[in-house]
């Protein structure tokens, strides 16, 4: 046994649950997120099975409504939003900037406990009888008409919001203050730029969600009509407030994914990211403009046509930096030396799926088409292409890429590539038919549907089965690797980032001597010496 690393420093339960080590907290988050991912996934599975036939045969309407609400709430707030920032970000940020920890380690631990408290409250709401409002909690349904545990579920989300805020705060301060000597802003890996942009949104948007949910819960609990039209309230005000958070929240979910892709594309084509500064500023541009597009969820709600016009225009504007990023990743491949390891397969899948998701986003930003497509499966397909095809794929890519660093073990390249390919095909089979369903006019959140939609629904459910298997596979081969995998060298990808300059897994305080940065990021050489082995 060589020198102690963060995993072997101590083995007691106490040393895990009271740790302030960002790497251990990342592991705590990782374990919790796997749990929530499979709960949300189970709900999705039930939904897809039910939708294989037009009639209601598996569950009743009430159960179905609770299933998709649970799927939405769990996946959005307890998987997607914390996914990359709180696991990979928590682990990698201090390593990447050459720091010994995040700026506020105890705050970091506290944010995990708050997250778990929020998760438990939400799970309680689900077990006690569920919520049937949809994850959007639209009033007046949520305040006056729903007979379910709306307040408890909202409280869970409200609590988890504080965890998001604290994480964002921690990242912002860390990136500002704890960079290694010589690590200027333009020498930061792009992953950090995108996490920085993400953190700004976390800090500025989440409190608006908190106050919105508070107003909604107050109305429901006290029976006062904040959004109740019968006493002068406005249900649309709730939507404005809710989407003021929830649209930027979409960028909370996708920006870290884009950040990971920069690292992967650059590493596996052995080349600097094309247009570094453009990509860096694009992240911040997305974060900034992302605050000004929320009204595009309300084109058919009866908001003023002028407002719709402005929001549509801003939505097209926010698509520009995303497009720039895609072009830059493609240009990065040019004259590179491309290796098709599992993380790269995920990265390529991300570029393809994200492009489809982004382009269909333009369809929805386009006012006249949105009138037809909003609230149909077209929207469902669009955001799953961004969230699952984009974010989850990037998450898996990043996980494989940094896995040797996190665990100190190598995984089976064969199984990893198989899973990546399976996920890509399973995903497309699941969600592409939903574009067609949406274009044909099948509304979302429908438990039973007219029989002419069945063909595409069956395809989608079939794809979901493949996707479910594909998502289970990493659980096994990565689980196996964590305990029995071959030991990883410090720098298996021969990458120049600071996180690879320390041992795998890193020691408790990351770096023994303080690293000093003297050059730009992504200075790859053409050779790819440490070819990972099949286990």
């Amino acid at each position: 046994m060589s020198a102690k690393n963060y995993l072997t420093a101590d083995f007691t339960l106490r040393s895990w649950f009271l740790t302030t080590d960002h790497k251990r907290i990342a592991i705590l988050y990782f374990a919790s997120l796997i749990f929530f991912f499979f709960i949300g996934g189970a709900a999705a599975t039930a939904i897809r099975i039910e939708l294989a036939t037009p009639q209601a045969d598996l569950v009743s309407s009430d159960v179905y409504n609770r299933l998709f609400t649970m799927h939405g709430i769990i996946m959005v707030w307890f998987f997607l939003i914390p996914s990359i920032p709180n696991t990979l970000g928590n682990f990698i940020v201090p390593l990447m900037i050459g720091a010994r920890d995040l700026a506020f380690p105890r705050l970091n631990l506290m944010s995990w406990y708050i997250f778990m408290l929020g998760g438990c409250v939400t799970l309680f709401a689900i077990l006690a009888g569920g919520v049937d409002t949809g994850w959007t909690f639209y009033t007046p349904f949520s305040t006056l008409y729903s007979n379910s545990y709306v307040i408890v579920a909202a409280a869970g989300v409200f609590i988890a919001g504080f965890s998001s805020i604290l994480t964002g705060l921690n990242f912002i301060v860390t990136i500002h203050r704890l960079r290694a000597p010589g690590l200027t802003w333009y020498r930061l890996p792009l992953f950090l730029w995108s996490l920085y942009a993400t953190s700004v949104i976390l800090v500025l948007a989440t409190p608006v969600l908190a106050i919105t949910l508070l107003l909604m819960a107050t109305e429901r609990f006290f029976g006062v009509g904040i959004f109740d039209p019968r006493i002068g309230g406005d249900p649309l005000l709730f939507q404005h407030l809710f989407w003021f958070y929830s649209h930027p929240a979409v960028y909370i979910m996708i920006l870290p994914g884009m950040g990971v892709i920069n690292e992967l594309v650059s590493c596996f084509s052995r080349k600097q990211v094309f247009g570094y500064k453009f990509v860096a500023w694009c992240s911040l541009a997305i974060a900034a403009v992302g605050f000004l597009v929320w009204g595009h969820h309300m084109f058919v709600s009866g908001q003023s046509l002028i407002a719709s016009l402005v929001f549509s225009f801003m939505s097209f504007i926010v698509a520009v930096p995303s497009a720039i990023k895609v072009f830059n990743w493609t240009a990065t491949l040019h004259k590179g030396s491309i290796h098709f390891d599992a993380p790269m397969l995920y990265a390529l899948a991300f570029i393809g799926l994200f492009t489809i998701g982004g382009l269909t986003g333009l369809f929805l930003a386009c006012l006249a088409f949105d009138v037809h497509a909003t609230d149909t499966y077209f929207v469902v397909a669009h955001f799953h292409y961004i969230m699952v095809g984009g974010m989850v794929t990037a998450y898996f890519g990043g996980l494989h890429y940094w896995w040797p660093k996190i665990t100190g073990r190598l995984y089976s390249e064969y199984w990893a590539r198989t899973a990546a390919i399976l996920i890509f095909f399973g995903f497309n089979l699941t969600f592409f038919p939903q574009f067609i369903l949406g274009a044909e006019g099948m509304p979302r959140r429908y438990h039973v549907y007219p029989p002419e939609f069945q063909v595409w629904n069956v395809l989608s459910s079939g794809g979901a089965a493949i996707l479910a298997v594909a998502y289970l596979m990493p659980l096994f081969y990565l689980g196996y690797s964590a305990f029995f995998g071959k030991r990883a060298p410090a720098n298996p990808w021969n990458a120049p980032g600071l996180e690879w300059q320390t041992s795998s897994p890193p020691p408790e305080f990351n770096f023994a001597p303080q690293p000093v940065v003297t050059r730009e990021p992504y200075q790859y050489n053409e050779r790819f010496e440490a070819e990972p082995q099949n286990a």
Binding site: N65, N328, V371, H447
Partner: protein
């Protein structure tokens, strides 16, 4: 048979649906171009620059800004074009409808109730004549619903507490789906109906066959008396209230010096929140009918007051 599987293959059902379909085709073509180009480049680069392949890797592009500027500008111009196109069609779809044949739609958990001016009421169905714009006046009894006719590429939310106008026009006779597109609770997916578009002659036959006992306006007039509105508004009572004959569609001076047009919304608000916009030189004495009248009854009252438009006081 096979055509039903082709997405978006129902052209020419209405003037606007064709525009939306064209827009959709345009968007699809732009996307196909972008995706085609992107996938071509990805494949090309992945094949040519795969590790181990001996190829020319010298003279890498170092200066990136002119590439960045050109594809930023290209995407921006392209997006701007799509924006203008989409917005112009949107404004046609949602233009404020002229005073056409009105149909009243009340949404409630979980049904659509439609009423023709002649009093013919339908549940989860709406019969309309073809080739004639119909103005829908929609209200919700409870939560937010959304009136969605996929075949017409048309949708509008029905938010409680206000009237929403929507103009529809169908050019081909047939039966079309009507969906509720905004999640509204347990039986959301059961809140579906059909639009039956008929030849004008068939439609007037249908209207007469329905043979309602009374028109909406006369039912509204009856309500007007039952609820005691007539006591003050018909003159002769002890309380002085503005007469309602000839009011509809005309400007009304308010006590705060402003003027409003007495449209559906104003009349509705005046019944529910009578003291928010008081007619000039009258006292704010009218009680609110909030919670005392349903959306159905409200509609009838509005129609009744509207029917008084022709009379002069």
């Amino acid at each position: 048979m096979w055509r039903q599987w082709i997405p978006f293959w129902q052209p020419g059902l209405s003037p606007h649906s064709g525009d939306v379909d064209l827009l959709f085709t345009g968007l699809l073509m732009v996307s196909a171009l972008v995706i085609g180009l992107l996938f071509f480049l990805l494949t090309l680069f992945c094949a040519r620059y795969r590790a181990g392949n001996q190829t020319d890797r010298d003279h890498r592009v170092k200066k990136s800004w002119h590439w960045e500027v050109s594809w930023t500008a290209a995407s921006f111009v392209c997006f701007l074009g799509l924006f203008v196109w989409g917005a112009s069609v949107y404004f046609q779809i949602y233009r404020t409808p002229a005073d056409e044949h009105d149909v009243f739609v009340v949404a409630k958990q979980w049904m659509w109730k439609t009423q023709h001016p002649g009093g013919q009421a339908e549940i989860d169905a709406l019969h309309i004549p073809i080739k004639r714009p119909i103005r829908l006046v929609m209200a919700s009894q409870d939560v937010i619903h959304s009136f969605f006719i996929p075949a017409l590429r048309l949708k509008h939310d029905v938010v409680p507490g206000r009237y929403q106008d929507l103009e529809i026009e169908v050019d081909k006779p047939g039966h079309y789906h009507l969906f509720c597109a905004e999640y509204c609770g347990t039986d959301h997916s059961g809140m579906i109906g059909e639009i039956v578009a008929m030849e004008p002659a068939d439609f007037s036959n249908w209207l007469t066959q329905q043979a309602p006992s009374s028109t909406l306006a006369s039912e509204g007039g009856q309500l007007f008396r039952e609820l005691g509105c007539s006591g003050c508004h018909s003159g002769g009572g002890t309380v002085r209230a503005p007469p309602l004959e000839g009011v509809y569609g005309k400007p009304v001076p308010l006590s705060d010096g402003t003027t409003v047009i007495a449209d559906d919304k104003y009349i509705r608000d005046s019944i529910l929140l009578p003291r928010s916009q008081v007619v000039a030189s009258y006292q704010p004495v009218m009680p609110s009918f909030e919670g005392k009248v349903s959306e159905d009854q409200l509609l009838r009252l509005v129609i009744y007051i509207k029917s008084l438009a022709g009379h002069s006081s």
